[in-house]
């Protein structure tokens, strides 16, 4: 991903090392209650649907916390212009 956004490997590594622990904690706080309720009340065949629906909210949260950086955006824009 990062390579495609024109970053060096070290930058990517630092970025991930920077955010991964906070994200992991948030992930536990968010998903553990969800899954407890899910496994308690939802039949097995519908458990994936609960996860998928909740994932939409979770992705929204993630993208709000970690918006794409300006340079990445520029890179994406450049890329799409090149395609045109």
């Amino acid at each position: 991903m990062g390579a495609m956004q024109g970053k060096t490997f070290q930058q990517v590594y630092d970025r991930i090392a920077d955010v991964i622990w906070d994200t992991q904690k948030a992930q536990w706080v968010f998903w553990i209650p969800v899954q407890l309720l899910n496994f308690r009340f939802v039949p097995v065949r519908h458990q994936l649907n609960v996860v998928l629906l909740t994932s939409v909210v979770w992705t929204a949260l993630l993208s709000a916390w970690y918006p794409p950086e300006e340079e990445n955006k520029a890179a994406v824009k450049k890329e799409s212009e090149e395609k045109k």
Binding site: L37, H46, T54, S63
Partner: protein
């Protein structure tokens, strides 16, 4: 508690989660006991056949639908009827149960395919949300505070620039949908059935079932995964160690429910 106050990010998460899960579990738990027997499947497929016939008549000869569950039949076709009969209107009030029944039929007949399609749609939706949310937030941050007309004008041009700056990445959504369809949904299907199998094997009962499953999913897989990462580290003393680690870390099941 003070920890949560320091980290509003982490505190905000469970509220939405609780609301959503309880809502969806109420919606889906309602139909737990209905379609478990084989008989139900047979009735369902028979019903689907009759639906298909009705639809055929309706499409080819423009014969109005005679089936008593005509709304459900119509649901199978992608067409939306322009002249809704009073009966159909009445039925549309109960449309949610019609949809759930229809979904259940497919889930019963082809569990993995149905889950794959659902997964693809919801992964697509998730990616759309993920792409739109940051740009929305940006615009919120830039909410105009008119102090000076010249300044606000400048502000507006900036806003316009920001908006045009936003480029929607369609291939990304396509990738997300493909991932949801081909990888995530089938794997998850196996995952949930595996958890169920383990609880049955271990003869868990009552509240220990959800607790075991959650711990297993959130921590157990993680441990196994990092055991593997450690093993890879141990075995390969290559220069690309960091790259391998990063790759494994990104794929870590700890971060993917």
């Amino acid at each position: 508690m003070s920890y949560f106050l320091k980290h509003p990010k982490i505190a905000a998460a469970p509220m939405g989660a609780f609301a959503l899960t309880s809502a969806s579990s109420i919606l889906m738990g309602r139909h737990t006991s209905q379609q478990t027997s084989k008989k139900a499947t047979q009735t369902a497929s028979r019903y689907l056949n009759s639906c298909a016939q009705e639809l055929y008549k309706y499409k080819i000869h423009n014969v109005p639908l005679q089936n008593q569950n005509q709304f459900q039949c119509r649901f199978l076709s992608s067409e939306t009827s322009k002249q809704a009969t009073p009966a159909a209107k009445e039925a549309s009030a109960k449309s949610s149960s019609g949809f759930v029944a229809w979904y259940e039929i497919h889930l019963q007949a082809r569990p993995i395919a149905t889950k794959a399609v659902t997964g693809s749609i919801l992964w697509g939706l998730g990616d759309i949300v993920a792409q739109i949310v940051p740009s929305m937030m940006e615009n919120d941050d830039e909410a105009p505070t008119p102090i000076d007309t010249a300044q606000s004008q400048e502000h507006e041009t900036q806003l316009v620039a920001k908006k045009t700056d936003f480029e929607y990445d369609y291939p990304r959504t396509a990738r997300a949908m493909f991932f949801g369809f081909a990888i995530h949904a089938p794997l998850s299907h196996m995952h949930f059935n595996f958890l169920e199998w383990m609880t049955i094997k271990g003869s868990f009962s009552g509240l220990s079932i959800p607790i075991f499953k959650t711990v297993m999913e959130q921590v157990g897989y993680c441990m196994v995964w990092f055991g593997l990462v450690w093993f890879v580290q141990f075995v390969s003393a290559s220069r690309n160690l960091k790259l391998v680690n990063l790759f494994l870390l990104t794929l870590s099941p700890c971060l993917a429910p």
